[in-house]
């Protein structure tokens, strides 16, 4: 029955797409939410069912029909359920459901209401295909499908240039990764002869793949992941993606889609482990991204952009996890991140809603008292992400950093730690600027200032709840061998990796360091933005170049533009003008003209004079006879 999980939202999307025009809003919201709810229900049922399945008969596979079959290229339309995908389905349907509900309130007055829910359902469908596809090709289908939905939803308000632009950018940047992904799939097909995950596992275990080949494939696949999961160097689309409706940012660009890369890497963990080098690359890219994105988040004034950079940074953490071989930890962070990051986004959406769409933090402040529900939930999210103990973010981040340290990846660990300071800092900068301090709200916004309706706040509360408790399924090993339920659950799918034993004291020490770092970040934020709000200005004045660099996001967009887009477009123009029009067409037209000219020249003999005609005839005779003579 689990194969219904993706199909229900899919069917709903289809109905909405075809008939949405004629359906009332109320019906649309019910159908959309219920379909996801049903999926969520089935996911839960299947999850518990899965607990009873002996590890040997995993994964459970349901083949719907043969999809593509040609020569040695085979791809069935088959869905699988194993712990990894089960967790993902739960996250996707669960968070998705809440966001569907939230959207009912958030989008209530939008004229594209039906369209919005069509896209949202379609996204859920595609994401579920991604996580449940039993082979790489089907995974790629979902992979592209979520990309499409992301494109559609980012550009949802396509009348705005920026939105349309951002959507397009997201799609194209993703496609760059996808191209590499496709090549990776091809290599696997070439070696394994199939794209089935089981077959791939079998091939790796059977030693069919050499280490070098594994590296190549893994890197290609990871290149795909950098696109989808917004890692260096392909992260540039994600900040712009904030042009979409906020629930979309929450669902797609925080909780689910962008983490698909992490899921994929975890799914292919055997390959990465086999390669070794590839894992190293993943870890380093993840770490660099984590800190790089965090620095950019420092100076942003747009509340959603801060969150976007934070997402990039957090996904970096997940990749650190994968890179150091702690796939379970990476997945765990994915799991917790889904809650608190969507919470943060939804809360931010609630703030926006309250301020009639205002996103600039400089025009907020002191909102605490106006938004009695949004404020605490947002705060919970911020604490969770900052890595304060006893909230979910703490456990997952700590697991990653511990593993990094344990693997001897001190450099990565250090970067991660630095990122953690920054994370705590910019999150609380956000909190303080938004909810504390003097009010800087513009007057017209203030008139409408109100807390969001129930339908929006309830999901906030639920998410806040999970942001707190979700961490407890994966307690650190320090608390007991069996404390990490999450990791144990994933064991059948995830290669356990090299056994690492840190001393208990070391582990506690690491935890303490993490905590200290988080608190430190919060404190600095407190000093900068509440205690002495002038400090930031002073620092800016001291390091104007640095500030400008950060504020402009290291000019990466500009560099990409100048290095790739412009040369490509301008170069093409030059080639078109000069080669296509002048050389090729010139040759063709020139041939025609030359032929015509030859005709004209030959026509000159046709002077109308009898003697000239005779002369030609005589010439012919003379040549003919002369030829015969010699």
């Amino acid at each position: 029955m689990f194969w219904l999980i993706p199909l229900l939202p899919g069917a709903s999307a289809f109905i909405l797409a075809v008939f949405g025009k004629w359906l009332p809003k109320k019906y649309v919201s019910w159908q959309a939410c219920l379909s996801v709810f049903a999926s969520f229900g089935i996911s839960l049922v299947s999850f518990f069912g899965l607990l009873k399945v002996p590890p040997g008969s995993l994964p459970v596979i349901k083949t719907l029909f043969h999809w593509i079959q040609s020569g040695s290229f085979n791809a069935d339309l088959s869905l699988q359920l194993d712990p990894l995908s089960s967790i993902m389905t739960l996250v996707v349907t669960g968070v998705g459901l809440l966001i569907h509900v939230y959207s009912v309130g958030y989008m209530a007055h939008d004229k594209g209401y039906q369209r919005y829910f069509t896209y949202l359902n379609l996204f859920t469908f595609a994401m579920l295909i991604l996580v449940m596809g039993a082979n790489l090709v089907l995974m790629f289908v979902g992979w592209e499908g979520v990309g499409l939905c992301s494109y559609l939803l980012i550009g949802f308000w396509f009348e705005k240039h920026s939105a349309a632009n951002a959507g397009k950018k997201a799609f194209i940047v993703n496609r760059i990764g996808d191209a590499a992904f496709i090549l990776g799939i091809f290599f696997i097909f070439l070696i394994v002869g199939s794209g089935d995950f089981r077959a791939i596992t079998g091939a790796i275990e059977g030693g069919a793949i050499t280490q070098g080949m594994a590296t190549l494939i893994a890197l290609l696949l990871f290149a795909g992941a950098t696109g989808k999961s917004a890692q260096i160097p392909l992260y540039v689309w994600l900040p712009d993606a904030m042009e979409g409706p906020t629930p979309v940012s929450a669902l797609i660009h925080a909780a689910t889609m962008v983490t698909a890369g992490v899921y994929m890497v975890s799914r292919m963990n055997l390959l990465f482990t086999l390669s070794g080098v590839a894992g190293q690359v993943v870890g380093i890219v993840g770490a660099l991204t984590a800190i790089f994105a965090a620095t950019m988040a420092l100076t942003q004034n747009d509340i959603k952009r801060v969150l976007a950079y934070s997402t990039i940074s957090q996904i970096g953490y997940m990749f650190i996890g994968c890179g150091v071989g702690a796939y379970a930890a990476g997945m765990f962070h994915l799991f917790t991140h889904a809650f608190f990051k969507s919470l943060l986004f939804l809360a931010a959406g609630s703030v926006m809603h309250a301020l009639s769409g205002e996103l600039d933090m400089r025009k907020m402040g002191g909102l605490r008292k106006y938004l009695p529900l949004t404020y605490p939930t947002f705060l919970i999210g911020a604490i969770a992400i900052a890595g304060v103990p006893f909230l979910s973010g703490f456990f997952s981040k700590d697991a990653i950093l511990t593993h990094a340290f344990a693997q001897g990846q001190y450099f990565i660990w250090a970067l991660g730690l630095m990122g953690a300071v920054l994370t705590a800092f910019y999150m609380f900068r956000l909190v303080f600027l938004t909810f504390f301090g003097p009010e800087r709200i513009e007057s017209h916004a203030k008139e409408h200032l109100h807390e969001s309706p129930r339908v929006m706040t309830v999901p906030l509360v639920i998410l806040a709840f999970f942001s707190i408790i979700a961490g407890y399924v994966g307690l650190p090993v320090v608390l007991g061998e069996k404390a990490n339920l999450f990791s144990r659950f994933l064991d059948p799918v995830i290669h356990p990796g090299p056994e690492v034993h840190l001393g208990i004291s070391t582990e506690w020490l690491l935890i303490l360091v993490s905590v200290a770092v988080a608190l430190c970040g919060i404190y600095i934020a407190y000093v900068f933005y509440l205690k002495s709000p002038r400090t930031p200005h002073r620092i800016v004045a001291r390091f104007p170049a640095l500030y400008k660099l950060l504020y402009n996001k290291y000019y990466v967009d500009e560099v990409y533009n100048a290095a790739f887009v412009k040369p490509l477009v301008n170069g093409s123009q030059v080639v078109y003008d000069n080669f296509d029009l002048k050389v090729i067409d010139g040759t063709i037209d020139g041939t025609a003209a030359a032929t015509s000219f030859a005709g004209k020249v030959l026509g000159l003999f046709q002077s109308g004079l009898v003697k000239d005609y005779t002369l030609v005839l005589l010439l012919g005779v003379v040549i003919f006879l002369g030829y015969l003579l010699f």
Partner: protein, 165 residues
């Protein structure tokens, strides 16, 4: 004697043609040509073709050239027409003509000797020709009738006045 006659006639004939070429006046041209054709008739005679010689003189020198002269009189130009003015056409044609002469000369050079000499058994007696015309060459002979009709109709249709005129 024969040789002398040949050269005399040949020179006269060529002279006649040259005269035609060099003279401006059409009437003179025609007369030069009549002269040349008459000489040619003589040459035919030398070649044991008395009948053709007669025909040549009667038809060519007589009929055809008279026709020319008629036309020349009908056209009645006051002054003659000088030779070609387009120098390069003339030059090129002269060059080509010389080439042609050389080519033809080279071609026949080897066989000239094998052609034999005049004299010997007579072949061109009118009786013989007449017999041939109405036996072996009856068909061509009949065709000439069609030819002459065609020429007749053609000439008439081209020069006759329109009915209304």
């Amino acid at each position: 004697m024969g040789i002398f006659l040949f050269f005399l006639l040949a020179i006269l004939c060529v002279g006649g043609v040259l005269g035609m070429i060099l003279s401006k006046n059409q009437a003179h041209n025609a007369l030069f040509l009549v002269f040349a054709f008459a000489c040619l008739g003589g040459l035919f005679g030398l070649l044991d073709a008395p009948f053709i010689a007669a025909v040549q003189i009667i038809i060519y020198a007589g009929a055809i050239m008279v026709l020319f002269i008629f036309v020349i009189m009908m056209v009645n130009l006051e002054q003659g027409i000088s030779p070609e003015k387009k120098k390069w056409t003339l030059g090129l044609s002269a060059v080509l003509a010389v080439f042609l002469l050389v080519e033809l000369g080279l071609a026949v050079r080897g066989m000239l000797g094998s052609l034999g000499r005049t004299g010997g058994p007579s072949i061109g007696s009118p009786t013989e020709l007449g017999r041939l015309l109405f036996t072996d060459y009856l068909y061509p002979f009949e065709i000439t009738s069609v030819l002459i009709i065609a020429a007749l109709v053609g000439a008439i249709v081209l020069v006759k006045k329109k009915e209304k005129e």
